[in-house]
């Protein structure tokens, strides 16, 4: 074996590569906590410099006087509350008597539904005009859109979510964790004065969650059928999907732009979510199909012997086993939706998500500074890193599974 491949050199090489990978982030972090005058010096001050949170402050908050420690406490309080509920939920679902479980589960379910209804109500009442309705021929189009959304999308979502709810005892806690964080997001701008970027962050979250929910729900059904059906049409669908995955994005985004402009729904989250679900669908069904191929047919055949229909077998046997695969695919969808730039830039001239916001910061005419761009980069990356750390196992597995078999 060559000398440089000896263990010590292996580690040295890997460390050099790690430095190469991580260096831009490390540099952005240290730039984001410096004063602009230190950054602009001819020679950078590498240590012993004064730190400041003003870059973060001016990216997120409207008022420079806000004490960033208060903001930090606010965030920590909500994250801690969510984590406590999650842990309590895990503890109750592991130990505890059935009566306690049911009582707590019902209570959490009640809180979740009230919060969701309230959120939906706020969202609807803040949208003062549904512009699709008012455009020419809008009535028929609107009815068509609503019917399609209801039967094509809502029913699959309810189906998949309910099959999850039946089998996983921990779900009320997941919901509650979500609700606590949601309340935090909703409360924050009422406590601190926020910049537009905060609302772009909220947009990012809404778009990501909706895209994940819709594309996973309809994708898991199709992926299952494609793994089990042996007819030729299955092969044709898969090949066409593969071709779609490879096509340049502009071939889709320009027609969406045209249609959205025509229908007057440009700049709405709806059109971004629809576009992202569509372009993500080929990838989703291929990935689910790969996972389902590993699940032996006998599993649901045994259930169907006992008189269950295919749908029941899928719901009661397959979805619970598939849970790791669903998480892995959801992670990729999450990354795709949260990271998307081109679609949002074209389809949302003002109602951006975070990636578009940061690019506008670094554009030529912007008066904002290098430190602020660095602070923005760090704050956009943090949520992703947290999610990835929580689910790293699934991500690596998904990358491996998708590739080795695809």
């Amino acid at each position: 074996m060559m000398k440089f491949l000896r263990p010590f050199s292996r580690h040295t090489t890997l460390i050099i590569l790690v430095v190469w990978s991580v260096l831009p982030f490390a540099w952005a972090v240290q730039t984001s906590i410096k004063f602009t005058r230190d950054v602009a010096q001819r020679k950078p001050v590498l240590w012993g410099y004064e730190t400041t949170s003003s870059a973060y402050n001016s990216f997120w908050l409207g008022d420079d006087e806000i004490n960033m420690y208060n903001v930090l406490w606010f965030i920590l309080a909500f994250v801690a509350a969510a984590a406590m509920i999650g842990l309590a939920g895990r503890w109750i679902s592991k130990g505890g008597t059935n009566a306690v479980k049911q009582a707590v589960g019902t209570l959490l379910l009640a809180i979740t539904s009230v919060a969701l209804v309230r959120a939906l109500w706020i969202w609807l009442s803040e949208r003062d005009q549904f512009s699709l309705w008012e455009s020419e021929g809008g009535f028929a189009t609107t009815l068509g859109v609503i019917a399609t959304i209801f039967f094509g999308i809502l029913v699959p979502i309810l189906f998949v979510v309910s099959s999850f709810v039946q089998r996983q005892s921990g779900w009320p806690y997941f919901c509650t964790v979500g609700v606590v964080l949601g309340i935090g997001l909703w409360w924050f701008p009422r406590v601190f004065e926020v910049e537009d970027e905060y609302w772009f962050f909220v947009n990012s979250i809404i778009v990501t969650v909706l895209t994940m929910l819709i594309s996973i729900s309809i994708g898991v059904l199709a992926g299952y059928a494609l793994a089990r059906y042996s007819g030729i049409s299955g092969a044709v669908i898969l090949i066409i999907a593969l071709a779609f995955r490879a096509l340049p994005r502009t071939a889709f985004v320009l027609p969406y732009y045209f249609a959205a402009q025509k229908l007057g729904i440009l700049d709405s989250r709806l059109v971004i979510v629809m576009a992202l679900v569509a372009v993500n669908q080929p990838f989703t069904i291929w990935m689910f199909r790969t996972f389902f191929m590993d699940v032996p047919k006998e599993m649901e055949e045994a259930a169907m012997m006992d008189g269950a229909t295919r749908l029941e077998a899928f719901r009661k046997i397959i979805v619970p086993i598939m849970w790791p695969g669903i998480i892995a695919t959801s992670l990729f969808t999450l990354l795709l939706a949260y990271n998307e730039y081109l679609f949002v830039r074209v389809l949302a001239p003002t109602n951006w998500t975070l990636p578009v916001a940061i690019v506008s910061l670094t554009g030529g005419e912007s008066s904002r500074t290098v430190t602020e761009a660095a602070a923005a980069s760090v704050s956009i990356t943090l949520p992703i890193i947290i999610v990835i750390i929580l689910f790293q196992k699934h991500l690596v597995k998904g990358l491996g599974a998708g590739a080795v078999k695809g």
Partner: protein, 290 residues
Amino acid sequence: MNRRTFWGFTLPSVGVMLVLMVFPLVTTLWFSLHRLKIDEIKDGGATWIGLDNYRELLSDEQFWAAFRFTLLFVAVTVPLHMIIGLGVSLLLDKVTKGRAIYMAALLLPFIVTPVVGTVIYKDLFERGGLIFWLYEVITDSPFAVTAGNVKWLIIIQSVWHVMPFSMITFFAGLQTLPAERSEAAAIDGANYWRNLWHVVLPHLRVLLLFVALISIMDAYRVYDSVFVFAGDRFTEAHTLQVYNVEQVLDPNIGRLGKGYAIAVLNIAGIFVVLIPFLYKSYKDQIAERT
């Protein structure tokens, strides 16, 4: 599974793809034969002009410049990141201590928002950045991003961003290589490189092909990093996608019809690579079913 159940299960997904993918492609093809400005969409101002958009494009110097840069980009980034990725995965395969940490750190550029990755990379080369400063210390003159070097900066950034993908894929492939094969080769007197060439690479052959095809397609349609790096300042470093979007969104141009025509040519270009790939996958699918 019978046919009716199959269509019942796939209908939502196929419906979404039909309405939101097939239909847009048809409109793309149709309106690429029209003159259509973005500010006239609402009035329905499309006029039939036949193949004029295409004729104009084929004699458009900017289009060909974008095409050439796209080809250069694909030709350099794809082999480069695959070679580095393969090397790193071989190293990771040999290392056991701290593998998870190396892996997490090396995956970071792939997971981060591409736009953010580009912004922080670009800031290294600007005032206050690490490379800007090092360059000044070494050569005593400030570093400037120019039309000459911006293309190479984009390429380096892209390799940095995509390398983890090939690394993790090859690593997953290496995990499935039975240890006995390398051991047998070692007993037969094969050194490291002969083992790599005759045992490891043949095992990875399918994956190498897969990663190459996926990367070619993804590199061909690169948008985010190029747009952020080049912006309006370096139009000569625009790839086909960036050129395509700018022809539509730039308020001074705003030509949707021409944009559609570029998209059609892009699709035609990618199909050159795509058709053998699709053909092979189709045969695999048929083989699986019989």
